[in-house]
Structures are given as structure tokens and as C-alpha cells.
């Protein structure tokens, strides 16, 4: 066991990290509180702060004034860039559904990653130690860097400053008022646009400051954005969306758990934090200090047309498309066969997300969890047990369904952003486990060596298997969508009070939908695993979820054939981008996502129907 001085030193380390977490999370909480934007790009401002500070502090004189002045200047620059982005991009999506906001801000994440890579390169950079705080203090015989000790005070100081700002100044009162009811504030004659821009400046300033303050402790790298934003989300969710004091308490909690977790459960630190979040959400569904979120007035995008049964012409068209796809291998190159097989597999995955998102309105922001469960189940069955592919696929479907069973039970107790964050948390738990349980999952290297039976070894053979799978899956999911169960699921989205008033148990129906969706996502994961012959932790990663979200979005969230069209359009574009513009694909993909959400939020199918369809509007 550890002696008391080690534990105390670790506590101080935890508190020091809590300050960084608090700065990031309080900015996120402010922005969410007022603008209700789920700012996934918040970690990018943190990363930007770190890199900008590296450049600026190295240009400043190496005195303590030079360092602290440089840090402040960097934070201001980041805040100004935040302002610019708020005014050009985010301002257009305030009334859009959460999933669009998450996607746009994720587009920003990609853009930032690419630009920072362009300007600062791929290497990790560590700043020199801070003038005046270069030494280490000795506390109970443990040596702790002076800089870490100084950071401990930054969190409480900014908590005080923010308290003063929000309780003693006019702008602060407006921010608090807008957090409670922004429509009321607007109708009292307050210029909302300026208020939102100021809040976004403040939030990104805090994130930039946190990033800048982190550079003497931790080298700046290109992964720091996603890591910090996921942690910041966890903190904001634990603390209660929009509550600054809650964010502080949660940051301290997470910082300390992190520090002690490293000592006692080095394998499972991040899992520990997510477990804390799950527990908090079960007992306090709105977080520690969070009030009830006032539901926003629905925007135009939430007016949805009914799902109509396909007409005779549609059925005929579908048959023709299937026939063409069956004949395609006769003329296509084997490269096209491979790409199309991937399109089919991804279409199953996107379809399973579409079922939750579009039919039932559940933002499954950790949908990769089921995909990864499927791929890893298939890989483990194949390599550890040496069983044939059929068993692997069955195991994958069951694992995906089991994931839906377990996660759905927790998730259906929550709503909106909390639900989205909880699904993300589950995916991140699995992501971390798949990296850390090296002996079981192969860690970062994944599992390789899945072999297909001889008759499926050719690209053509696998093409036909994928085509069969996507046809059957889509057909089954459509049946579910048009069935009483699918309608009941949609009913829960349309009106929860009415659903309860006609004797439905909304949570149970949603739970069942999680299981159905998980099973299909698991199937997609297994097919992809056998397609590549390998599985990697990224199967559980945020980018896998975002891929599926973008496919659903590109096709059209409220279109039944959206996921199919979306998987086709998106995958072809993504593959070509990576092939031809390897260095810029993130930038272009990010801009593409942003432009698509802003310009064509109803998706390809939606835009087509709007133009040529028989809609009522």
C-alpha cells in the first residue's frame, strides 16, 4: 500500500489537474447554459490555446511576466477566434436539433486538427519550465513541482471571478437570466446576438487559458482535443448542464478520482470516471447542481412528415437497384467491389443508428459501442476460439444486442443531451478497455488474422454477402419501422405525455429499440471485421460514431432511405478524399460537414423530396 505522504502528494496533483478541468468545463457550461449549443469543438480551443501559447511564450522574454503575459495573450487570441467562429458558423444553428449542433462542432474539430497540424506539425512539443516556478516543493518528503501547486489556486480563483462576474455585473446577470430562459431575456429587449457572442468569447477564452496553462506540464499534441472535451463533457454532465459551481465540484471530483485511480487502478482510470458519471446520473438525472433543462421551442427541422409505405413504383425502383447491384461485379473492378462492400456494411451500421435517431429521436452519440462490440466479438470468437465465421457473426449480433440491453437500461432513464453524453460515455469506456486490456483485446494493435471461409475469400464473394446482408437488414428494419412497435417508438418521441396517457411504457419501448439497433450495429461490426480481417480500438471511437451520424445526415435524417444513400455518398467521398488528399482530408471533411448541415439540413433525399416529392408543405 501507499503511505500517507504519497497519497497527499497525489491529492495535490489531482487538485492541480482539477483546475485545468474546471477552466475547460466552466467555459463549456457557460456556452451550453446560454446558447444551448453542445460545443464538441471546445477541446479544440483548448488545444489551440496550448499551441498558440507555445509560440507566444517562446517569443516573449523568459521572465515570469513574459510567461504569464503570454498565457493571457494566447487565451485572448483563442477567445477572439472563438468569437469569429460563433459569428460565422454557430449563430446559424442555435435552433437546430442537438445532433446537428454536435455534427457542426465536430466538423470544427476536424478543421482545427488539420490546421494545427499544418502550422505546428505532428510532433509533441513541451514548453520550457516556468520562470520563477522552476523548482519543486517538498511536502511530507514528496517532491511536487511548484508550478503544479500554483495551478491548484487557479481553479478557485476563476470560480470566484466567474461568481463575481455572474452575480455582480450587468452582463453576468444577463448570462444567468439567459441560462434560465433565453426567450424571456430576448423579449425583454436584450440583444441576444451580442450576448451569445460575448458568452462564446468568455467560454473559449477559458478553454484557451486552460490549454495555455497546461503546456509546462504536458506536451502539446494533436490528440489533446478529444481527450479533454470528453472529460469536460463528463464534468459538465456530472455537475449539471450549465451550472458553474457544479462544474467546479465535478472537476475536483474527477481530478481527485483521476489522481487516486492512477495509484490503485492504473488499468481502468478513465473507466472509473465514467462509472462515477453513470452513478451520478442514475441518482441525480440532472447532475449534481443542475436544474431542469427548459425544453427549447422546436425549430423548423422538427416538423416531420409521416413515414409513408412505399408505393408500387418505389418497390419497383428498389428491385431494379438491387438487380443492378447484383450485376455490378460483372463490369466493375475489384477495387470498386471492395468499396461497395464497405458501403453496404456501413449502410447497415447507419441504418441501425437511423432507427434510434430518426424514428425514436434518440441521439445515440456512442453508437460505435455496438459496432465495436460486434467486431470484437467476431474477432475473439474467430481467433481465440477458432470457430467459423457464422458463429462469429451470430456472436456479434448477440453482443450488440447485449450492449443495447445494458446501455439502453441506463440511457432510457435520461433525455436529450444527458442521454447523448451517457451513450458517448459507454462507447468511451469500451474504447478505453479495448486499449488497456492488452492481453484480451490486443490493445492498440487490435486483433488481426480473421480468415474467411474459402468460398467468401474473393472480393466478389464478399460483395454478394454484404449485398445480401444489407438487403435483409434494411428490409427487417423497415418492417420494424412500419410496425406497431416502430410507431410506438416514434410516438414516444412525438409526445411523451400522450404516449403515457394511452397506456404506453415509453422507456420500455425505447429500451427494446436500443436492443434492436444494437443487434444490427453488431452485425455491421462483424461484417467489417471479416472484411478487413482485423479489428482496432477505433471501432469504438468517436470518429466511427461520427461517420455513421454523417451518413444518416447526408442521406437525410427524416428519410427512410437516408442511411443507404448517405452511406453511398459519404463513403465514396471519404475514400476518394483520403486517397487523393491525404494531408487535407480532415479539413475538407470538416468543412463539408459544416457546409452540409448549414446548407442542406434535410439531406440528399430530403432535398430531393422537397423539390420533386408530394409533400404537404
Amino acid at each position: 500500500m501507499y503511505d500517507i505522504s504519497t497519497l497527499f502528494a497525489q491529492l495535490l496533483n489531482g487538485l492541480s489537474y482539477a483546475s485545468t478541468l474546471f477552466l475547460v468545463a466552466s467555459g463549456l457550461a457557460l456556452i451550453f447554459g446560454v446558447s444551448k449549443i453542445v460545443n464538441f469543438a471546445h477541446g479544440s480551443f483548448y488545444m489551440l490555446g496550448a499551441y498558440v501559447a507555445l509560440t507566444i511564450t517562446s517569443a516573449m522574454p523568459s521572465t515570469s511576466w513574459g510567461f504569464w503575459g503570454g498565457v493571457l495573450l494566447s487565451a485572448l487570441i483563442v477567445g477572439l477566434i472563438g468569437c469569429l467562429i460563433e459569428m460565422t458558423v454557430l449563430r446559424r444553428i442555435y435552433s437546430a436539433p442537438e445532433v446537428f449542433q454536435i455534427l457542426v462542432t465536430f466538423g470544427l474539430v476536424l478543421v482545427f486538427q488539420n490546421l494545427i497540424y499544418e502550422f505546428w506539425g505532428p510532433d509533441e512539443v513541451l514548453a520550457p519550465r516556468v520562470p520563477g516556478l522552476k523548482g519543486a516543493a517538498s511536502i511530507f518528503g514528496e517532491r511536487i513541482p511548484q508550478y503544479s501547486l500554483a495551478l491548484i489556486f487557479v481553479g478557485p480563483i476563476f470560480l470566484g471571478l466567474l461568481w463575481w462576474l455572474t452575480h455582480r455585473t450587468r452582463w453576468g446577470r444577463l448570462i444567468r437570466a439567459a441560462t434560465q430562459d433565453r426567450e424571456m431575456v430576448a423579449s425583454l429587449g436584450v440583444n441576444q446576438k451580442t450576448l451569445f457572442t460575448v458568452v462564446f468569447f468568455l467560454g473559449t477564452f477559458l478553454a484557451g487559458l486552460a490549454g495555455a496553462l497546461q503546456i509546462p506540464k504536458e506536451s502539446a499534441n494533436l490528440q489533446m482535443d478529444i481527450n479533454i472535451v470528453v472529460e469536460a463533457f463528463v464534468i459538465v454532465v456530472i455537475g449539471g448542464m450549465g451550472s458553474i459551481l457544479g462544474a467546479f465540484l465535478a472537476a475536483v471530483l474527477v481530478g481527485v478520482i483521476n489522481a487516486f485511480g492512477v495509484l490503485f487502478f492504473p488499468q481502468a482510470v478513465s473507466v472509473l470516471i465514467f462509472i462515477v458519471m453513470v452513478l451520478v446520473l442514475i441518482f441525480r438525472p440532472n447532475g449534481l447542481m443542475g436544474g431542469r433543462i427548459i425544453p427549447q421551442r422546436p425549430g423548423d427541422l422538427s416538423i416531420d412528415q409521416p413515414f409513408r409505405l412505399p408505393s408500387k413504383r418505389m418497390k419497383l425502383a428498389t428491385l431494379i437497384v438491387i438487380a443492378v447491384l447484383m450485376l455490378l461485379p460483372m463490369v466493375a473492378s475489384s477495387y470498386l467491389e471492395v468499396v461497395m462492400s464497405e458501403v453496404f456494411i456501413l449502410a447497415i451500421f447507419a441504418g441501425s443508428l437511423h432507427f434510434l435517431l430518426s424514428v425514436g429521436g434518440i441521439v445515440s452519440f456512442g453508437h460505435a459501442a455496438y459496432f465495436g462490440l460486434g467486431s470484437y466479438a467476431a474477432a475473439l470468437v474467430a481467433t481465440r476460439l477458432g470457430l467459423p465465421m457464422g458463429v462469429g457473426i451470430l456472436a456479434a449480433i448477440l453482443s450488440g444486442a447485449a450492449g443495447g440491453l445494458l446501455f439502453g437500461w441506463f440511457c432510457t432513464r435520461l433525455k436529450g443531451v444527458y442521454l447523448a453524453m451517457l451513450t458517448l460515455a459507454f462507447a468511451q469506456i469500451l474504447f478505453t478497455l479495448s486499449i488497456q486490456m492488452v492481453s484480451f483485446t490486443g490493445g492498440d494493435n487490435g486483433i488481426v488474422g480473421l480468415s474467411r471461409p474459402a468460398w467468401l475469400n474473393s472480393h466478389t464473394g464478399y460483395y454478394y454477402l454484404s449485398l445480401l446482408a444489407v438487403t435483409v437488414s434494411t428490409w427487417l428494419m423497415r418492417r420494424a419501422l412500419y410496425s406497431p412497435f416502430g410507431f410506438a417508438f416514434r410516438a414516444g418521441r412525438d409526445s411523451a405525455p400522450r404516449s403515457a396517457a394511452i397506456g404506453m411504457n415509453v422507456a420500455r419501448i425505447q429500451w427494446a429499440a436500443f436492443i434492436v439497433s444494437g443487434a444490427f450495429a453488431g452485425l455491421a461490426g462483424a461484417l467489417m471485421a471479416y472484411h478487413r480481417g482485423s479489428v482496432f480500438p477505433n471501432d469504438f471511437g468517436v470518429s466511427t460514431t461520427v461517420d455513421a451520424l454523417v451518413m444518416v445526415l447526408v442521406g437525410g435524417v427524416q428519410s427512410i432511405s437516408g442511411p443507404l444513400i448517405g452511406a453511398f455518398a459519404y463513403h465514396i467521398v471519404a475514400v476518394e478524399l483520403i486517397r487523393n488528399l491525404a494531408d487535407y482530408w480532415r479539413l475538407i471533411l470538416g468543412l463539408f460537414i459544416i457546409a452540409f448541415v448549414l446548407g442542406m439540413p434535410q439531406g440528399i433525399v430530403g432535398a430531393f423530396m422537397h423539390r420533386f416529392g408530394k409533400g404537404e408543405k
Binding site: I303, P306, S483, P484, F487, A488, R490, D494, S495, A500
Partner: protein
């Protein structure tokens, strides 16, 4: 036996005693109005009857069953239909699908995964839509309906499980006077036809006195009067609550 018996229910939110010791009954075939000024506790009272809130004390007995601690979906299955102050329908379904949705729940067929919903209970749904005069709009998307039509659709949905009691929360809120009376006349005729009882809350006094058999008046969480509309109209306590100053002047004059 009365259809609904409310026995001295109370509910507090922290220090605020929203409803104190309220009792009344709704007899078979009766239309009962629950009225009172803003903040009187009508909505709290109402939400305790339909299961959205749980009473701190007292009991609610429907059709011989104690439903005080039941959830909204259980209460509905016992035969209590309801409409909401802001009509709650399923916006992304057609008018007929809305009713078919309810009918599937009535017949316990919600877990079906195979036969499309639109194929079942079509005739039954059309009959209900006919009863509220909505059959010609059956194919329309619910989100494009006029508000008066949404209200009528909601009524059809509330009637789908042949309830014995219909709870209507401010049925005419947000409607034009003409629409308002036609909706209440429709409700009254359906009630007589089907022999069900109605309890509704209402702000509009003309609707109350024209359509209610019995009026229950609440003020500041307490029940202050119940009786036939004419008795209520002449009740000095009710006048005091609604007109306030007149009664106050009188009593101060007496004091002098």
C-alpha cells in the same frame, strides 16, 4: 356508486400547500367542471387524478379501484381517457395513424414487429374519426392541422379505449369563441351517446355554465363550493373569490 370519488386529497410543494383536503365525486354520465382563479390548485388536483402527481394524503377511487398510487399508463388502462391543455398528438403521423396507434395500445398489440400499423384497426379508427368529424382529413399529416382539428383528433384518441371517465384539462384554451362552443357541443353529444362522465377544468365561464352539470370551485388550494351551475353563480363565497372587491366592500361597510 360514483364513477370517480376524490377523498380529501392534499399535496404540498415544500411550504406551499397547493391542494388541501379536497373531496368531490363525479357520478355516471355527469359533466363536472373544476374551476377557480389562477393558482387555485386546479391543475395540481387534476394531475393527481391522472397519475402525473402523487397525492400526499387522501385517496382517489375510480370505478371501485383505488388509483391513488397508479401511473398514468395504468390509470388509462382502467378506463380513464384524457386530453391536455396544449393538445398532445403525434405530429409526425397521419391523423388516422394517430388513432390507430391508440387502438394498438387498447388491444395490447404495441410489440408487433411485422404487420405494418396502417393495416390494422383501420375501420375502427375511421369510425372514431367520423364521430368527431375528422374522417375527411384522415390521410393528412397531423403537424399541418389547424389547432381546432388537433383538439378534435385528440378527443377521438381519448375516446378510443371506450373510457368511463374523460379528464379534460382546459379543453377550450387557445381557441376562438366559435370553435370553443362547437368543441364543447361535440364533447357533450359524445358524452350522452356513450354514457361517459367528464371532469374538466376551465377558465371560460360561459363554457362552464352552459355545459357543466355540476361545478366544483377551488380557491387557494381549498374547495369552497360545489353544486349546480345556478347555485354556484349565486354563491356569495364564489362571487367573492371571482369578483373580490365587491364582497370586501360589503363586509367593510357592515363593519362600520
Amino acid at each position: 356508486m360514483s364513477t370517480l370519488a376524490v377523498n380529501s386529497i392534499s399535496k404540498s410543494f415544500f411550504a406551499v400547500k397547493a391542494v388541501q383536503d379536497v373531496s368531490f365525486t363525479v357520478g355516471p354520465g355527469e359533466i363536472v367542471a373544476l374551476i377557480g382563479p389562477n393558482g387555485a390548485g386546479k391543475s395540481t388536483c387534476f394531475n393527481m387524478l391522472n397519475g402525473q402527481l402523487r397525492a400526499d394524503s387522501g385517496s382517489v377511487v375510480f370505478d371501485g379501484y383505488d388509483i391513488t398510487r397508479e401511473k398514468p399508463n395504468q390509470i388509462w388502462r382502467r378506463g380513464v381517457g384524457r386530453t391536455f391543455q396544449i393538445a398532445q398528438t403525434f405530429g409526425s403521423m397521419t391523423v388516422r395513424e394517430n388513432v390507430q396507434m391508440v387502438l394498438h395500445s387498447v388491444h395490447d398489440r404495441l410489440s408487433g414487429l411485422w404487420t405494418p400499423l396502417v393495416r390494422s384497426y383501420r375501420a375502427e379508427a375511421d369510425a372514431l374519426l367520423g364521430a368527431v368529424g375528422m374522417q375527411d382529413q384522415a390521410e393528412r399529416a397531423c403537424c399541418f392541422l389547424a389547432y381546432g382539428d388537433v383538439k378534435r383528433l385528440e378527443l377521438a384518441m381519448a375516446l378510443a379505449n371506450r373510457p368511463k371517465l374523460l379528464l379534460m384539462d382546459e379543453p377550450t384554451a387557445g381557441m376562438a369563441p366559435k370553435e370553443r362552443n362547437s368543441l364543447m357541443r361535440l364533447t357533450a353529444s359524445l358524452v350522452r351517446e356513450r354514457g361517459l362522465s367528464v371532469l374538466f377544468t376551465e377558465h371560460s365561464v360561459d363554457v362552464v355554465f352552459e355545459h357543466a352539470d355540476v361545478v366544483v370551485v377551488m380557491s387557494r388550494g381549498k374547495l369552497i363550493a360545489k353544486g349546480k351551475p345556478l347555485e354556484i353563480r349565486d354563491n356569495p363565497l364564489v362571487q367573492e373569490v371571482y369578483l373580490g372587491t365587491g364582497a370586501f366592500l360589503e363586509s367593510s361597510e357592515i363593519a362600520q
